[in-house]
Amino acid sequence: MNPTEGTPLLRACGLKKSFGQLEALREGNLIVNRGEVVAIVGDNGAGKSTFISCIAGALRPDAGEVFLNGNPLELGSIHAAMRAGIATVYQDLAMAPELSVAENIFLSTELRRRGIAGRLGLVDQKAMRARAAALMDELGITTLADVSAVAGSLSGGQRQVVAVARAVSRAGQLIILDEPTAALGARQSQIVLDTIHTMRERGLGVVLISHDLPRVLEVADRIVVMRFGRVVAEVAPRGQTVRHIVSLMLGEESAAKESAAS
């Protein structure tokens, strides 16, 4: 498919990030292959969101490197990560509540009018609305009737679905989802899970942070367990139980043994 067939899609090694005295991320290592769903699990404060923020460029790590298709990624730059094809759904969704759904989906990737008007920075609202609506249809999102509604008027679940849709429309290589189903009902959760499957089939890498362990076991190809800012275990979901993963998250069993088992 491409010359980098042998190298993993994403390789993050030795990422560290401290906030003052707090060492939020002590040792972030991660490999994601094309068409693979990797779940990151861990208790609150384990450093999951810090870890993915460093990969997505929202935070500049104090140390470490990230490679995409073997090429080093400029760290601490959201734009570099976006250009490289990394799209992220943040826990707080990164939306502008006063703007419409369509405007949020195309925020910073606005469709411009043709010709000189576009060069002058004029946006094509109509095209953005049409494309946003088409995106919703494509993902099977039916609970959102109007892409002109302002994001602030939506329910938490609807906003979350919009954030996922935005990331899907932007992801060229890797999609990172931080708690994408936290505010969702069963139907909407299923839409997100279906979307994850679709992304995997398209050959994208998927990084999923979730507290919903039964779903993680269902959807992930590999589960990375974090504790106190470190990746402490990596397990295959097959044959795993929720109870076992929780014990890894809490460090109740020897992490080394579990790593060996995987």
Partner: protein, 355 residues
């Protein structure tokens, strides 16, 4: 959430799924609703302006409506409108610019000095053109300074512009040694400042044209959308890929440039500078932009509303002059209008939160 919860909550749903046939907010109606709110803010303001005008017309037995008075109100509004529209961008982006009034004064002084300096050698016409450009550039420079300080030093825009407000007026006084610039060619007034075009003051026409362009920039361009996104949620906009710092510098640059144009208009009107005549100008502009439907909290801005709301204070002040109210009361009125404007904005905010 604790780990215990993780084990037990296999489906973290927060209520039954909504049937697709009955979405919570019907689309077209929602849009209509929003349009109506927007329209109503602007039209309420327009009604208020008309009502004020009529009240003063009655109090002055019609004198208020004579052409020269209305033209004078238009001239007073021309510069103020530019400041208010510049502020609409700044407030929309979640910041504030307290320095626009002193930027106006600085620009007028720069402009006037340049015109006087070139009038003999280059002729009045060219001197005025060069002076206008220099005045606008001075305003742009002040705006750029604000934007850079806010984004690079990460200082709150209230504090930054409170500082540059002093810097601007101080520079104006340093340049002129405190006395107004005199000796401007009279053609600057006759040919533009006090001239009309079909009875409409020429400075007002220039302002209207610039403000309408600004309205297009706010609603139709990438820059305008990014400005509002930044004001709506700076962190969100940043992570969605918006170049928040560029956008922030842009809105301050725009406000400064508008103030620069207003500074030039000021000298075309009076034929001299008015260094100490603009102490309340910023407050007037700020009230206008908030009354006009721009949120003090960012994310929402209306250029058209700001333009119309400009007339509230200019009509009020012209009326006070005509019915012989002391200028001390005029200041009180401007202060009261500002407070009412912010209160109305709070009510709007509260209503938005409940719907």
């Amino acid at each position: 959430m604790t780990v215990g919860q993780i084990q037990t909550s296999s489906t973290p749903e927060q209520g039954p799924p909504r049937p697709p046939s009955a979405p919570p907010r019907p689309g077209p109606r929602e849009v209509l609703h929003r349009l109506r709110i927007l329209q109503s803010t602007t039209s309420y303001v327009a009604c208020a302006v008309v009502a004020l005008t009529l009240i003063f017309a009655v109090l002055t037995s019609g004198n208020f409506l004579n052409t020269s008075n209305l033209q004078s109100i238009g001239r007073n509004s021309a510069g103020l409108m530019l400041l208010a529209v510049g502020l609409a961008f700044v407030l929309g982006a979640g910041h504030i610019d307290l320095s626009v009034g002193s930027t106006l004064v600085l620009s007028s002084v720069v402009s006037a000095k340049v015109i006087v300096a070139f009038a003999a050698s280059a002729g009045a016409g060219w001197a005025i053109v060069i002076g206008a450009i220099c005045g606008v550039l001075a305003g742009a420079a002040m705006g750029l300074l604000n934007g850079v300080l806010v984004t690079r030093l990460r200082i709150n825009s209230f504090v930054v512009t409170l500082g540059t407000m002093g810097v601007g007026i101080g520079l104006a006084q340093v340049i002129t040694n405190g006395s107004n610039v005199i000796g401007l060619p009279t053609v600057i007034q006759r040919g533009f400042g006090i001239a009309n075009w079909f009875s409409i003051p020429r400075p007002l026409l220039l302002s209207l044209a610039l403000c309408l362009v600004a309205a297009g920039v706010l609603t139709q361009t990438v820059f305008g959308r990014h400005a509002l996104a930044t004001g709506s949620s700076e962190a969100g906009a940043r992570r969605a890929g918006v170049k928040v710092d560029h956008t922030t510098i842009g809105v301050f640059l725009l406000a400064g440039t508008m103030a620069g144009v207003a500074g030039f208009l000021d000298i075309t009107r009076f034929g001299t500078t008015a260094i100490s005549g603009h102490e309340t100008t910023m407050l007037q502009a700020l009230s206008a932009v908030i009354i006009g439907g721009t949120s003090l909290f960012g994310g929402r801005a209306s250029v058209l509303g700001a333009m119309i709301a400009t007339f509230i204070s200019t009509v009020l002040l012209a009326g006070f002059v005509m019915i012989d109210v002391s200028s001390f009361y005029q200041r009180i009125a401007i202060g009261v209008v500002l407070i009412i404007a912010v209160w109305v904005d709070r009510l709007r905010q509260a209503r938005a939160a409940t719907t």
